[in-house]
Amino acid sequence: MTSAIQVTPRGYAGPGVRFGVPFLALVFALVVGAVILRIAGNDPAEAYRTMFDSSLNGWTSITRTLALATPLILTGLAAAVAFQMRVYNIGGEGQLYIGAIAGSWVGLLLPESMSAVVMLSAMIAVGAVAGAAWALLAAIPKAFFNADEIITTLMLNFVALSLMNYLIFGSLSFWRDPKRTVPGGKRLPDSAIMPSLSGRLHIGIIIAVVAAMLLWWLLRRTSWGFQVRTIGDSPRAARYSGMSVRLKTLTVLGMSGALAAIAGVSEVSGVTKGLEPRALATDIGFTGIIIAVVARNNPLGVVPVSVFLAAIATSGSRLQSIGIEVEVVYLLQGLIFLTVTAGEFFVSNRVGLRAERRAEADGGIPPSAELARGVS
């Protein structure tokens, strides 16, 4: 090797590295974004100030950001639980649509006079089951034939999108409001609408945060979660120790689909208040993938990361007032995803100058780190 840079695998990454590296990656992405904005002829400082003011400065802005973070937390959790087992569910987008379709179906079907608690619970339950079933369309071939779930979940996204479009734009379905000249969904009755907490913020945020805590507990404190993480780290070792990889694939993908579908129920009930394909198809499912990766699949990490990405997204519309197109939001999200992915290298490897080599060779992996790895 001729380079002066020395790379050694880290046996164990401490919390400083695990949280510090993604954070530095976020900062780096914002710096690259600033350079691109400058090249495109805009003032990056003004852009970022506007973004901060419109998303996090003041109560109204914060409620707007949190309202957008609600479905993102849920789709982020959906991706995180699957990625934890190295099952790549890219179908959050489609599962969200299916949840919205099923949830609004229940809301329109049940009598209006029903109590909101029963109504909303039924919508969430049916939506979650429908989303899980949709995810099983990919999980069953994965579990039994090892069919690539990335391809199958992704293809199903396009099918779900066309299905939702068909229900509103292509037919006079149960969901479509026949009285409206511009095709749109029937408005849900009041009992099927998630109560507002403040402005646009609705109780969906509570559901999302509780889901994050539950999922963290499931993954980190139960034997089920231990098995899921073990399968993710080493499927062969898991199989030898008697864990059923097949059953876990089905349950994890089903759970993932259910979480994404609840995001759909939350949107249709708390935000669009009827099946509105254009308002629902805003890449919430895809953004969940970025969130899971940035949060390193930690359910509790998903919450702040979702709020951060929601802040970037909500501020997009305000940027137009200073002459910057909304699309910069997508660019920033992409850059964040990229830099955090690259940062993974610095989490799993120690990078230093060549001079350090002797010290490394003497010590190797410190015994304390070895111990910690065995316990975690």
Binding site: P9, I36, A40, Y88, I90, P141, F144, F145, N146, A147, D148, I150, I151, T152, L154, M155, L156, F158, V159, S162, L163, N165, Y166, F169, G170, S171, F286, I289, I290, V293, E325, V326, E327, V328, V329, Y330, L331, L332, Q333, G334, L335, F337, L338, T341, A342, E344, F345
Partner: protein
Amino acid sequence: MNESVLVLSIASAVVASIPILYAALGEIITNRSGVMNLGVEGMMLVGAVVGFWAGNETGSLTAALIAGGLAGVGLALVHALLAVTLRVDQTVSGLSLVIVGGGFSSFVGTSGEPGLLSAPNEVEVNPLLPQFMQDLPAVGPILFGHDIVVYAGIIAVFAATWILNRTATGLSLRAVGEDPAAADAAGISVIRTRYAATAIGGFGAGIGGAYLTVAIVGTWQNGLTAGIGWIAVALVILAGWRPWLALVGALAFGGLNGLGFTLQLAQVDVPSDFLKMMPFIAAYLVVILVSANPGRARRLAAPAALAQPYAREAR
């Protein structure tokens, strides 16, 4: 059904298959070196917007295709940096390309005045072969009525097959994809080979995207590829990493894309949303069928080291 309708729809299926074909051929080369690049959709989008821009500036098809191809290479090299040098999870890295490519292309598409969203297409695409051949009944429009990019794509299928199976370069490439440690020991640079193969994949996807904008759609819209890149990724698996099977598959998907047009002309009433689902349902089903059939799956096996990063020191 009217005969000319059938002829026209077959001809349009051929054209519609071309972006998928270029992207899939590139992805086959990338995969054969052991690198999985799921970012085809992103590379196609970047190729599409840059190709459309270059076509608008110059009015030249060649310039549009080369610019689009190079834009695809640029994004592919990001994947190579992440997946080959930094050895991060190739699935995650590929997905990041999809999101970066989508974000970058919609940002570029709206930047500047008046912006590409409202720009007309300045590139003229002409049939390659002489008029009398195009005028032949049936075979004229289907086989001889196309532009140079279509024929080049078919030549590329043969070229890729020949290079992969009959040349030293192809042997090195496959060696790196099957057993990088052995290839390394034999003096082949695993890193350089994988960078080159990933770049070729980006070039193919970029050309596919550029052809889509300047020759088929004729405008730029955000997210214009609408899943074609993903179809190409699926197609590579379905084709068992073989160029000529990718050609067959691309034609089939091109046909499914054009099915709506055909049925409309034949006055068969199928909701357009269901027609849009067709290629995706087909890809979904075929991926499962290929996986469910172990004999076939074994014969058309994936490169042994696909998606596995290579670290010399960990050998």
